[in-house]
């Protein structure tokens, strides 16, 4: 539009002439924009926080417990308990190439864990080196997680959850120190980094002691795992991997692979996919709510435009006499409505940014915020908001503009 400059000047004049009405309209747009941006930003923060929290358990994994058979199989009755043995793990790894990593847990709840004069009664788990990545047992700098050599040599090494470490050591550095578990000495090799953990089985990871699975079974003598943890190479192969596990374990332990109750699988992958869908739904819902609140502001904009047209019929008639085409008359008013939405929206986004900035500075250790997350204005939110603003501006301008274009120049110019 070559002539938009004059129209912008015209807009300024209108802004100054109708300060009060214009201010109210701008505030309405600002408010609408603020609500849409904040709703989306909170949803975004919540989503990010959920993703972060669900990482605490591990991403893309299947956690499997033994169940009870419900179908008689090869002469064996139903109601048999299925338990996992090291051979099951070996067979899964050997026969299912779609599996990337395997691991398993041993549990011992009532161990007494001591350092110096301090003794805590807590959990000692035997687990696999694969847990480092699979189950997010990442060590803080200066330490390390259990490795393959620890496993094969059945070393007496311990990896502490961060709460367990503080409870035992306070501010002291635990690495290299010797603790005792049920009076057996273990060297601390690492402390887990702080993490938010949304899902857990048998307690969170931050208040337990982890030792190599081999050491665990050598000391307490249990052969059967509490549970398996399996990570498929590709999350999209999870279903296939699950059915293969039924076949492989079923063959070894003699149960019908169709007997779903024989195993109990916590599909974390599915849970995370579901959560993504819920979050998307939430964002769409918030977006729609924001859209409606902005629409109300749009009605205000349309209103102010109708009033402006009523005041400017002579001007419209003059422009028509000078040869302005329909779209040139309309263009001015649509541009004006879009400008109102643009200015109001810009301030709305700025205020929203201020609000988000405030949350940014708030300490995340606040209990509520660890679950709510921090509102975040992403690029997508910006684009969505600008699109909605533009759309509402266009609609709020279009109908008044159409009325402007239908002004009868003869009537409006009749000299009274």
């Amino acid at each position: 539009m070559i002539n938009s400059l004059l129209f912008v000047r015209l807009f300024w004049r209108d802004l100054r002439a109708n300060k009060k009405r214009m201010t109210l309209t701008l505030i309405a747009v600002l408010w609408g924009t603020l609500s849409i941006v904040l709703l989306l930003a909170f949803a975004e923060g919540l989503k990010a926080q959920f993703a972060e929290n669900s990482k605490g358990l591990g991403e893309g994994i299947l956690i499997i417990w033994g169940g009870q058979t419900t179908i008689p199989y090869e002469g064996l009755g139903k109601g048999r308990r299925i338990r996992f043995y090291p051979e099951d793990l070996q067979e899964i790894q050997r026969q299912i190439p779609e599996v990337e990593k395997v691991g398993a847990d041993y549990f011992n709840w009532g161990t007494s864990i001591s350092y110096g004069k301090k003794t805590i009664s807590g959990r000692t788990n035997g687990l696999f080196p694969s847990f480092e990545t699979m189950r997010a047992h990442y060590p803080m700098p200066g330490g390390r997680f259990i490795n393959d050599l620890d496993m094969s040599k059945r070393r007496r090494v311990a990896f502490l959850g961060d709460r367990m470490a503080t409870d035992l050591f306070g501010v002291e550095d635990p690495i290299g120190k010797v603790i005792t578990i049920d009076n057996m000495p273990f060297t601390v090799i690492g402390v887990q980094v702080k993490k938010q953990q949304m899902g857990s089985y048998s307690g969170p990871d931050n208040n337990k002691v982890s030792i190599p699975a081999t050491t665990h079974s050598a000391i307490w003598g249990n052969l059967r795992y509490n549970n398996l943890v399996i990570k498929p190479r590709d999350v999209n192969q999870a279903e296939f991997v699950k059915s293969r596990i039924y076949e492989v374990v079923g063959k070894r332990q003699k149960f019908d692979p169709k007997d779903k109750a024989a195993l109990s699988i916590w599909d974390v992958i599915e849970g995370q996919k579901m959560m993504d869908k819920i979050m998307l739904g939430l964002q769409v819902f918030f977006g729609v709510m924001g859209f409606f609140s902005l629409s109300i502001a749009g009605v205000g904009v349309a209103n102010i435009m109708y009033a402006a047209i009523k005041e400017r019929t002579v001007e419209i008639g003059v422009k028509m006499a000078l040869g302005a085409k329909k779209r040139q008359i309309m263009g001015q008013f649509i541009l004006e409505a879009v400008l109102i939405c643009g200015i109001g929206g810009l301030f709305g986004i700025l205020v929203a940014q201020g609000v988000c900035g405030f949350f940014e500075r708030v300490d995340l250790n606040n209990e509520a915020l660890t679950w709510l997350g921090k509102p975040t204005i992403s690029m997508t939110i910006g684009l969505v908001t600008v699109t909605i603003l533009a759309f509402i501006g266009l609609v709020a301008g279009f109908f008044p503009a159409r009325r402007a274009a239908s002004v009868n120049p003869v009537e409006s110019l009749r000299y009274e």
């Binding site: 070559i2 002539n3 004059l6 000047r9 015209l10 004049r13 002579v314 001007e315 008639g317 003059v318 422009k319 028509m320 006499a321 000078l322 040869g323 302005a324 085409k325 329909k326 040139q328 120049p409 003869v410 110019l413 009749r414 000299y415």
Partner: protein, 233 residues
């Protein structure tokens, strides 16, 4: 330039229909300087609006510059108004918030003329009507005569073939009115066709032909008696 046959215009307001023009024939050659006179309510403005393509006749044929414009649609009429016609109104009808310069620029903006050409033309036209030093003034900062001169400059912006003026001196004192008439005479001499409504017989006398309208029809059409060059009063 203009050829009208059997033009009728009906206004249907409410129950009664007013017939403002009742089968009017009019012919205007290029380069003419014509005034229209007649009693109030006789249909002068109605005729002017139709000639100016702001309104369409209810009946009859209207050729403007060889084109049958009575059948044109809204955008075609806008195009004709923009390119071929320049309006001058009794009450000037300048945009109050815009400067003299911007007012004159407006028709060129609608025509899509480039900035450079606009600047050159606007400056030339405002200088020509004697307002070269008042280009940045708003209408409120100008006298009636000056406003009407801006309006004439605006009417000339797209070099139209036809200038239409509805009582251009009606709101002016006799001195300013005479000045405006002087400008119209100059325009006529340089080849522009001018059609002007007036109530003032002295003004009508300065045009080359006077058409008298009564009750929606032309009653007389007098050729000027060669006194077009009469001096200012």
């Amino acid at each position: 330039m203009i050829k009208m046959n059997g033009i009728r215009k009906l206004y249907a307001t409410g129950k009664v229909a007013v017939e403002a023009l009742k089968g009017l024939d009019l012919e205007l050659k290029g380069g003419e300087f014509v005034s229209i006179v007649g009693p109030s309510g006789s249909g002068k403005s109605t005729l002017m609006n139709i000639v100016g393509c702001l309104d369409t006749p209810s009946e009859g044929e209207f050729f403007l510059d060889g084109e049958r414009v009575d059948q044109f649609n809204g955008n075609q009429l806008a195009e004709v108004r923009n390119k071929k016609i320049g309006f001058v109104f009794q009450n000037f009808n300048l945009l109050p918030y815009a400067t003299a310069y911007e007012n004159v620029e407006l028709p060129m903006i609608f025509a899509g003329a480039p900035q450079k050409e606009r600047k050159e033309t606007v400056t030339r036209l405002l200088t020509r009507v004697g307002l070269g030093d008042r280009m940045d003034h708003k209408p409120t900062e100008l006298s009636g005569g000056e406003m009407q001169r801006v309006a004439i400059a605006r009417a000339l912006a797209n070099s139209p073939k036809l200038i239409l003026a509805d009582e251009p001196t009606g709101n002016l004192d006799s001195h300013s009115g005479a000045e405006i008439m002087g400008i119209f005479e100059e325009l006529w001499k340089s080849g522009t066709t001018i059609l002007m409504i007036t109530h003032d017989p002295n003004i009508a006398k300065r045009t080359k032909r006077t058409i008298m309208i009564k009750d929606g029809v032309i009653v007389t059409s007098l050729n000027g008696n060669g006194n077009g060059s009469s001096s200012h009063e």
